[in-house]
């Protein structure tokens, strides 16, 4: 049986990818921010500041653990872990290329959403247990936000599921072999991507950690590794949602054929993935933050009806065809 070694290798690769990717994304974010603000960003550690994130990570590991007064300690300690683990588990089913996939589950899409919805609980726990009102308000916001945005997200994905008749991510990619779904479903793509931005708490929807209002929101009281885990989870989450978008709408690993396409498809996948990540960063460094009621209004009054209409139209069109 090669199951066990394969599993171990996959876990190693996923963890390595997450760690590297976290570093890479933080570096990318700083550089994108820097250049959009006509600065250079980090330049000191390593060539062009590549190692800056590593140094920051080491600093965070070395930091003292400072529990605030009157915290709910088990929850306080568990929250970063609970935030991080589901995000990592989502990599189980993400197809990076035809062969580079830990496990193709026939309910892969649902797995990703289920795991994604678990993050909210950790934000709630972090906000509640820190004994800080700013954290509490941040937790409030994150819970209501993710509740509101999960609905249009799932609805917009349903139209894709209707088209492909499967929940397996690999089959969804295979289904868009000449033309990616974004061509047929631009509205669903837009809704899904907006919901992704909101689900990952990125600007302009970064209300749970709005620093000018709530100092740092739910992780105000975290320092050192707790903070690092939240941070890493946030960036990994970005990759997960962008990868999901790539799989659902942009045709996954499909692209101009390369040698060993079964493996090198990952190149196309990563290009599409990081393009989406770049767009997310682009949003963040351009827009002001929306207010909580506007955020909820956008979800309930615009995105949800739009997604429903899109779903119905898709169903009708599919029936006619």
């Amino acid at each position: 049986m090669i199951v066990l070694p394969r599993l171990a290798l996959s876990i190693l690769m996923v963890l390595g990818f997450i760690a590297l990717n976290g570093m890479m994304l933080v570096y990318m974010e700083r550089k994108v921010a820097g250049h959009m603000q006509r600065r250079l960003g980090p330049m000191e550690v390593g060539p062009h500041g590549i190692l800056q994130t590593l140094v920051d990570g080491i600093k965070l590991i070395g930091k003292q653990y400072i529990p605030p007064y009157k915290i709910d300690r088990p929850l306080y300690l568990l929250a970063p872990v609970i935030c991080f683990v589901p995000v990592v588990l989502a990599f189980i089913t993400l197809p990076f290329s035809e062969k580079l996939q830990v496990r193709d589950l026939n309910v892969g899409l649902l797995v990703i959403f289920a795991l994604g919805s678990m993050t909210v609980l950790s934000l709630f726990m972090a906000g509640w247990s820190s004994n800080n009102k700013y954290s509490l308000i941040g937790a409030f916001r994150s819970v209501s936000q993710s509740l509101a945005y999960e609905i249009p997200m799932l609805l917009s994905v349903l139209s894709i599921v209707l088209m492909t008749n499967t929940l397996s991510l690999r089959e969804i990619v295979e289904a868009q072999s000449p033309i990616p779904h974004i061509v047929f479903q631009p509205v669903a793509f837009l809704i899904f991507f907006i919901c992704c931005v909101a689900e990952t708490n990125r600007a302009p929807f970064d209300l749970p950690e709005a620093e000018s209002e709530l100092t740092a929101g739910f992780h105000t009281e975290y320092s050192g590794m707790g903070f690092a885990l939240f941070f890493l989870a946030e960036y990994t989450n970005i990759v997960v949602v962008c990868a999901t978008t790539t799989v659902l709408f942009l045709g996954g690993w499909k692209g101009i054929p390369l040698p060993f396409m079964q493996y090198t498809g990952v190149v196309w996948f990563l290009i599409k993935l990081y393009l989406l990540v770049f767009v997310m960063m682009w949003f963040r460094w351009t827009y002001p933050r929306v207010r909580i009621d506007q955020l909820l209004n956008l979800s309930w009054k615009v995105l949800t009806p739009l997604a429903l209409i899109n779903l119905v139209v898709t169903a009708v069109v599919l029936k006619i065809i």
Binding site: L110, V111, S117, M118, M125, A139, S144, L147
Partner: protein
């Protein structure tokens, strides 16, 4: 049965017991914790354990739905209520005897059911004979065989949504 396969099954068994522990711990926390936030966490752990049991029972779909609905929706909604209604001031004034007395209504049906479980002669059908069911099968069944139930449930959902909105708005006068 090769050795390595046997190892894999043993590993599966170990993981199973880990999650038995997790779910029992979660349930105990959910029931006996004084702080509601911890109870919510307990419920989440318990739901996670149950989801893993469903996986062992051969249904990844139900397992994922369990995660999505229980951890992702119900726990979050309960967390929301905890924040809104703030029941953390709950005081447990019961004495030890009363506390133990509370266990009786739980233990009695438990014993009864346990007796039934042991006494009944279950006719086990070997699993491997049939192809595994998929999400598509469920969908088909849901919309053909159990169509009426499905409709009734959706009606209940509608009523629930409208009702909860109305009830939640009731107290708000301003």
């Amino acid at each position: 049965m090769t050795d390595s396969l046997f190892d894999l099954r043993i590993a599966g068994e170990i993981i199973f017991f880990i999650f038995v522990g997790v779910s029992i711990a979660g349930a105990v926390i959910a029931v006996f914790s004084k702080r509601m936030t911890r109870a919510v966490l307990g419920l989440a752990l318990y739901a996670l354990g149950i989801a893993v049991f469903y996986l062992y029972l051969g249904s990844a779909f139900i397992s994922v739905m369990q995660l999505l609905i229980y951890v992702g929706a119900i726990c979050v909604v309960i967390a929301f209520a905890v924040m809104l209604a703030d029941p953390s001031k709950q005081s447990d004034k019961r004495g030890v005897i009363k506390g133990l007395l509370v266990l009786i209504p739980g233990i009695l049906p438990g014993l009864g059911l346990g007796y039934l479980v042991i006494k009944t002669d279950w006719i086990i059908v070997p699993v491997g004979r049939f192809p595994p069911l998929s999400a598509a099968d469920i969908g088909r069944k849901l919309l053909v065989e159990y169509c009426l139930v499905f409709e009734v449930i959706s009606l209940i959902f509608l009523v629930a949504v409208i009702g909860s909105v109305i009830v939640a708005r009731m107290g708000r006068n301003e």
